[in-house]
């Protein structure tokens, strides 16, 4: 399956710098529809009015963490592909995210190649 670069992507992180880094790397990969949110709660509000083909989210955010955001989505039956980008790299964190329904996991700091690899694993080949 070839990757659809017109999908809506939501980048969620409470550090604007990280949002800019991820968004710019996505643009380099020719994705064009990129939105942003500063925490899980804001992301849910964004999603209430728009459908997304991919969510790339940080874990540690206030007031709603990436994990709680993911759980909320899955509880509502929303199966949008979800990549967690986080510094949380302990085994119990990976298991918790996996149990909550994460599709893939990127540990910070990461590089452009890692992001591309994970996108292809979740969305299809470039």
């Amino acid at each position: 399956m070839a990757i659809d670069k017109n999908i809506n992507i939501l980048v969620v992180d409470d550090y604007l710098t990280m949002i800019r880094i991820i968004s710019n790397l996505l643009k380099q990969l020719e994705f064009v529809n990129i939105d942003q949110a500063l925490d899980g709660k804001a992301a849910l509000e964004k999603m209430s009015g728009k459908s997304y083909g991919l969510i790339i989210s940080d874990w540690n955010m206030e007031p709603m963490t990436g994990l709680d955001f993911l759980k909320e989505l899955r509880t509502k039956g929303n199966n949008t592909p979800f990549i967690m980008v986080t510094a949380e790299s302990k085994a119990e964190n990976i298991v918790a995210a996996r149990d909550a329904g994460v599709n893939n996991y990127i540990v910070k700091p990461f590089n452009a190649d890692t992001l591309k690899t994970k996108l292809s694993q979740v969305l299809g080949a470039f």
């Binding site: 604007l16 800019r20 880094i21 710019n24 790397l25 963490t65 790299s89 302990k90 540990v107 910070k108």
Partner: protein
């Protein structure tokens, strides 16, 4: 007030001292066993008094009043300045990237590759921010404990000048990963593949 908790109730420092003094008064120093008990109780009373003195001296160091607040303020500045500097770097990179779009190969490729490397490196700001925020929280916790210890000894100047409050990025205090218990990207991939 300083308190000692037993299974039944809390005892104030003054009550503990009274109990020890009472016990000392009742101990017959005539036998070797009682002499040992007397010596132990005296040692305990001295220990309580010296601990109190040490804590009072701490107020002389003024850790909670100036040192810790100024240190945390300086670290806050480090975070805000690196944030500002990173934003400037990102602005510059985005400008270069726009120019790169108009350039022909191989210049285009070289510029995009260079800008990508800078983007990747800029994530340092997120990581250092998390680390420094963790240190700030630890310092504020120490500040609060020192103030509480002094307050328990009746030191009116014990209260910290700055309210530790809720750290701005309290939720970020778990990362990024340290060497040791943390896992690498390869290990995480293996774990996820195992589940799949």
């Amino acid at each position: 007030m300083s308190q000692v908790y037993t299974q039944d109730r809390y005892y104030s420092r003054e009550e503990v001292v009274k109990i020890i003094q009472s016990a000392l008064a009742q101990v017959d120093t005539g036998t070797e066993r009682h002499q040992k008990l007397h010596a132990d109780l005296t040692l305990l009373a001295d220990y309580i008094q010296s601990t109190r003195s040490e804590l009072v001296k701490t107020s002389g160091i003024d850790a909670s009043r100036s040192f810790i607040p100024s240190t945390t303020d300086e670290l806050d500045v480090v975070i805000s300045e690196t944030l500002r500097a990173t934003a400037i770097i990102m602005d510059a990179c985005e400008s270069i990237e726009k120019v790169a779009q108009t350039a022909d190969n191989p210049v285009h490729i070289v510029l995009v590759k260079a800008v990508t490397s800078v983007y990747e490196a800029c994530s340092f700001q997120d990581i250092t921010g998390q680390r420094i925020t963790k240190v700030i929280k630890t310092l504020k916790d120490i500040e609060k404990k020192v103030a509480e210890s002094l307050a328990s000894l009746g030191q009116s100047a014990a209260a910290p000048l700055s309210d530790p409050g809720v750290p701005q990025r309290d939720a970020l205090l778990n990362g990024p990963q340290l060497k040791g218990p943390a896992m690498s990207q390869d290990e995480i991939d293996k774990l996820l593949n195992f589940f799949n």
